[in-house]
């Protein structure tokens, strides 16, 4: 079991290193950071001073090492716009984003999974076809279109809910709905196909042949097996808790990490962009690690050596 963890931990660290290197290389490739940050018409001496201050004249690998050290110290550079440390700026916004994405995640799990299971159990019934059509709609309607439609109906036409801002919980309802509906549709479709796959397996027939009533056979034998593939997509959803709401936050001008990223990209505030990139990478990697651990728990075949499959 230890080797199983070690392997997965190594892969997680490798991914993080890849992301950091990606950010470092892309930053350097995108032209001279000094010119990008200082306006092009700034006097040459100022640019030279800036280069010196940022150590841009040192050999590339030295900058890379210093870059890594800075990350470990949590010093991800200052925001170009208002000089505050990037990490501080980003950290402020995290609670706002989580206020959207966590309830949305709950909605996705609460609606998506039961709907998928129900559709699989009543194959080709009305419920099954309804779930499938909704799933295709959820999968194809862009989040900003869905958001704007909800605003049009509930905010503009009916006036029940505000169309933007973050003053009270009522402001969060539409964004959460927008995130939740899309995600629930995707999860329902995935859960349904996982369940259908499991229901067709011979061990389900053995359970019936043993005299296990259908309902208990589904609960005891089908669900634990269908959980294994479903964990992957739930892991991805958990991993994108920070990254998942970029568009929706912009639609509802919700001051979360996503909104900050869009503004930072527009203003080419590179330090903030880097910081968010690393933060999202960290959450994704740890979510994937958690999924791998869960695999070990859910699927005994990963834990112990199979009886030698003879050639």
């Amino acid at each position: 079991m230890l080797r199983f963890l070690g392997l997965r931990l190594a892969r997680a660290l490798l991914t993080m290193v890849l992301v950091v290197t990606f950010a470092f290389v892309v930053l350097r490739l995108s032209g001279d950071p000094a010119l990008l940050i200082m306006s092009a018409d700034a006097p040459p001496e100022a640019i030279a001073a800036f280069r010196q201050a940022w150590g841009l004249n040192d050999p590339i690998w030295q900058q890379y090492i210093r870059y890594f050290a800075a990350i470990f110290r949590g010093d991800l550079g200052q925001s170009m716009r208002d000089g505050r440390p990037a990490i501080e700026l980003v950290a402020e916004r995290i609670p706002a984003t989580l206020a959207l994405t966590l309830p949305a995640l709950a909605m996705k799990l609460g609606i998506g999974i039961p709907a998928g299971i129900h559709a699989a159990l009543h194959r080709n019934s009305f419920a099954d076809r309804a779930v499938m059509l909704l799933a295709v709609a959820g999968f194809t309607v862009p989040s900003f279109v869905l958001g704007l439609l909800l605003v049009l109906v509930f905010a503009v036409q009916l006036g029940w809910l505000p169309s933007g801002g973050q003053e009270s919980w009522r402001h969060a309802v539409l964004p959460v709905l927008t995130l939740g509906i899309g995600g629930a549709a995707v999860l329902a479709r995935f859960t349904r196909s996982a369940m259908l796959e499991v229901l067709g397996q011979p061990y389900m027939r053995t359970a019936l042949a043993k005299g296990v009533p259908w309902a208990r056979a589904v609960r005891r034998h089908a669900l634990p097996n269908a959980a294994i593939p479903t964990v992957t997509i739930v892991g991805f959803m958990v991993g994108s808790l920070l990254a998942g709401a970029v568009v929706v936050e912009s639609v509802f001008s919700w001051p979360g990490v996503g909104r900050l990223l869009v503004v930072a990209v527009a203003n080419r505030d590179l330090a903030v962009v880097q910081c968010i990139l690393l933060l999202v990478a960290a959450t994704m990697v740890s979510a994937n690690l958690a999924v791998d651990l869960l695999y070990g728990v859910l699927d005994p075949r990963l834990r112990s050596a199979p009886r030698e499959a003879t050639a």
Partner: protein
Amino acid sequence: MSDIPLGAMPAPAVSAPPARRQARLPALVVLALGWLVLMLLVAFAADLLSPFPYTALDLRNRLSPPVGMGGVWLHPLGTDELGRDVLSRLITSIRMSLLIAFGATAISAVLGVTLGFLAAHFRGLVEHAVLALVDFQASMPFLILALAVLAFFGNALPLFICLLGLNGWERYARIARGLAVSAGSQGYAAAVKGLGASPWRVYGRHVLPNIASTLIVSMTLAFPEIILLESGLSFLGLGVQPPMTSLGNMVGYGREYLTRAPWILLAPSSVIVMTTLSVSLVGDWLRDRLDPTLR
């Protein structure tokens, strides 16, 4: 799921299965195909079809509603805040969005399949490298990567298309590698290699044609994703830059006038939804007919 119990699989089909087995085209799929053909026509004949140049201003009847809501036939779908004809802008946007989507899908398919074949053929280190890349790509939400690159490199259309081309390539790589390996190890490819065929002949004449159908199906599944991604980025103002226009940034610009002139963003929104819906429906139908193994 095999619908006939395992123990009693019917003897292999000697004569063709009855016609009933080939279900005729379901109505939804026919509609979807019709819509897609319309979109392609619009994309190709954009200049001929659009009544006005898409940047022509007509400040006199600025923000006039579509013909259905009291508008005038001159601008059937109404005009935007600068009096530009929504229909003309829509047509050009369709062409732009489809161009980007086809370009990006092509790039990601070619990139994915080549890397998949390389991994399947050379196994060993190459395979591990490709699989590590696939793993890395799958573990990062693409939107964030795209935004980061856009931030660093600014935004030029070719770069934007190549960037979108990087989305989803790992799916093709995984499929191409899987099929090539399974065909190579005990399948028909190994048999043909055993006849003395050169690797080029094995891949060119046998593996690629067999994989093509599976790849086409997965392209139709990836296509909507790219349209959503492009329109999302353009909606945020980070994708297609004015004066060029795409469905996404039409919706973006229409947002300020949501209350007074909702038709500015409703037209492109409905086109996006209809197109992605149609491609998904055709994709699902194709997958069930061509290759049920691909979930």
